[in-house]
Amino acid sequence: MARTTDSTDERSTDRASTGANDSVVSLEDVRVHFDETGLIDGLRGEDETVRAVDGVSIDIPENEIIALVGESGCGKTTLGKVAVGLQRPTSGTVTYRGQDIWDAKEGNGDPAIPYPEIREALQIIHQDPGSSLNPNRTVLTSLLVPLKLTEPELGPNQREQRVYQLLEYLGMKPSEDYAHRYPHQLSGGEQQRVVLGRALLMSPDVILADEAVSALDVSLRVEMMDLMHDLQSVFDTSFVFVSHDFANARYFAGTVGGKIGVMYLGELVEFGPAEEVIRDPQHPYTKVLSWATPTLDPDLAAEESMDPPVREIDIPDPIDPPSGCRFHTRCPEARAVCETTTPELVATDTDRQTACFRMDETHEYWDSQPITGGNDG
């Protein structure tokens, strides 16, 4: 379970948060375990549970940007989906302004906030914008649908004008031309703008942007992220930005004072202000991601090792994650204690948290035997 042991302010520091109390969405000790046991495995008595997310607590304040980074299968997308109510946690809670989302959905108790309102407030944009737009609908039709829902009092002409305004805002000019196009007549970047626009028409509080710029050319990513920032300030939206790319996460979160959360095999291993996490990574896994992000400057690159700072290149199977610290099988700093004991996410600085014994100068780790070996040793 990811919890800090800082005792100065128990209420606000025992979780990945900014310390602000105005959370829109709160995740409390969330676990998502997928049962992948097939018929044959079941007959053999084999348990095939994938622990996609395993004990994560995180707060998403108003107007915040949180980037979740990690390798495929680390649980970042699943965690993001829990945060916007698209994935039910197998244990733990997720609340929207204090209301449990799944209680509201199922009508348990007397929800303070009705589920449709929560549903509108939490939106998602996917990696592949092409597949989330209906190929038989023009841009205009796609954008009118949510507008009818959120602004039922508007007349048809007013709604259409609203769509044109939005398209201009999204940089799609002439807007009347774009409005009458079908998705296949748009570039990937333009499709992504339409998807973003459609999400914003719901006036959401939180948007999950799942690898939202990864499919774009590197040369177009900054422009897309700038647009998302502009819209964030206009619409007062928080973003959960899921990415396997450290450089994108840094730009998206770093330029607006957001946070980066690093995930490994279902757990949050480091959390803090984007630039601090990038400039001074504390967890050995964060250092690996930093190494994996190529630098453009050939002088700096020449100083870097071509060998990855891991003992194993391949990620372990999330069905059977390693004991103790899950990173110990690949960690270049691993010692015997890491095989048996799980490090908790502890506050290492005012608003930083890291789950590694190395952050504690007095930990028994320092007297423990180093682990060596592995393919890349």
């Binding site: 495929s72 050319d217 422009e223 450089a247 190529p294 630098t295 050939p298 391949d314």
Partner: protein, 352 residues
């Protein structure tokens, strides 16, 4: 193209040409006109170099690579010549090879790796059979070849016993991609063309694979063409970088110089627009404007509508190549003023 040809800019006098591409154009007939996706491109690739070819999607880089293997699919029309110079023997006119000769050429001389490893494997065949069938089809010694295959897999941090016995779907994406690289090398080609070979992979696997590619290059002396939109990926890998914009090369030179002192305004704008972890955030900015449509490329310099240095000359005349120094060339009339017009920083003042 004007009188200063890209041919005059070889990086060193001792280098030897392995591929010579002359006046290559690739066109597709479309309803709304002819789409010219490679526009009169000439360049030389040197034996044993790693050359990175960088450009946005749709800039023509993959199509350029396809011409090297005469792999442009119908209805694409290729004109120009591609000459391959084997280590021993006569030069090969690649676009003139018959089907049988082309098949031999494609695996034994020049191999191709693209990003869709899964599509390159037969799902009903285990990995060992893939290697054996490849060796048999090319009349190679199977035992010796399999021994080489095991060496290659080991060098790519794979366990040969496990991988050879597996079916493609039993391997992770990163393992499939490394296996595909090993398979492409099993017939000991002299050149390997990699088109976004790590595109579908995680950062760590991407970076590990580029490191492994560098090692294989060193060990076997293979010439490598690495094609990508992801400039940082080749920054530390390539000996030379060729930048493509709007279906032609706009800058070519040693990687260090192209990155540190880019001459073409597009290269400079691209370096400013690429997210990375070292550049101060406030220094990053998108490239203004849109990439051109292959059906109607702007007249003159194709970059002029987006270029802060554009003059009436640029709107009317194709700049052709201008030598920046003996090893580098840029297709820009005003390259000497580009540094002042488009500034960029690769790393922050606090770094080192």
């Amino acid at each position: 193209m004007n009188e200063t040809s890209i041919h005059s800019t070889r990086s060193s006098t001792s280098s030897e040409t392995i591929f010579e591409v002359e006046d290559i154009t690739v066109e597709f007939g479309m309803d709304r006109g002819t789409s010219r996706v490679v526009d009169n491109v000439s360049m030389e690739i040197e034996r044993n170099e790693i050359i990175g070819i960088v450009g946005e999607s749709g800039s023509g880089k993959s199509m350029f690579a396809s011409t090297l293997l005469d792999a442009v699919e119908e209805p694409g029309q290729v004109t120009g010549t591609v000459t391959y110079y084997p280590e021993d023997g006569e030069p090969v006119d690649v676009l003139d090879l018959d089907e049988k000769a082309l098949r031999t050429f494609r695996w034994e001389e020049v191999a191709m790796v693209d990003q869709g490893a899964m599509d390159s494997f037969n799902p009903t065949m285990d990995i060992e059979t893939h290697f054996k069938e490849t060796l048999i089809a090319h009349g190679s010694d199977v035992d010796g070849g399999m021994e080489h295959a095991r060496e290659l897999l080991t060098e790519l941090y794979l366990d040969p016993d496990r991988v050879l016995g597996a079916y493609p779907h039993e391997l992770s994406g990163g393992m499939q991609q490394r296996t595909l690289i090993a398979l492409s090398l099993v017939l000991k080609p002299d050149v390997i063309v990699m088109d976004e070979p790590t595109g579908a992979l995680d950062l760590l696997m991407q970076r590990s694979i580029t490191g492994l590619i560098a090692q294989l290059h060193e060990r076997y002396g293979i010439t490598i063409l690495f094609i990508t939109h992801d400039l940082p990926l080749i920054a530390d890998l390539a000996d030379r970088i060729a930048v493509m914009y709007a279906f032609e090369f706009v800058e070519l030179g040693p990687a260090y110089d192209v990155l540190k002192h880019a001459a073409h305004p597009y290269t400079r704008a691209l370096l400013k627009a690429v997210p990375n972890t070292m550049t101060p955030l406030e220094e990053m900015a998108p490239i203004e404007g849109d990439s051109p449509d292959p059906v109607s490329v702007p007249q003159g310099c194709s970059y002029h509508p987006r270029c802060p240095l554009a003059t009436s000359k640029c709107r009317e005349t194709d700049p052709g190549f201008h030598d920046v120094d003996t090893a580098r060339t840029a297709a820009c009339f005003h390259w000497e003023r580009s540094a002042a017009a488009v500034s960029y920083t690769l790393s922050g003042p606090n770094e080192h």
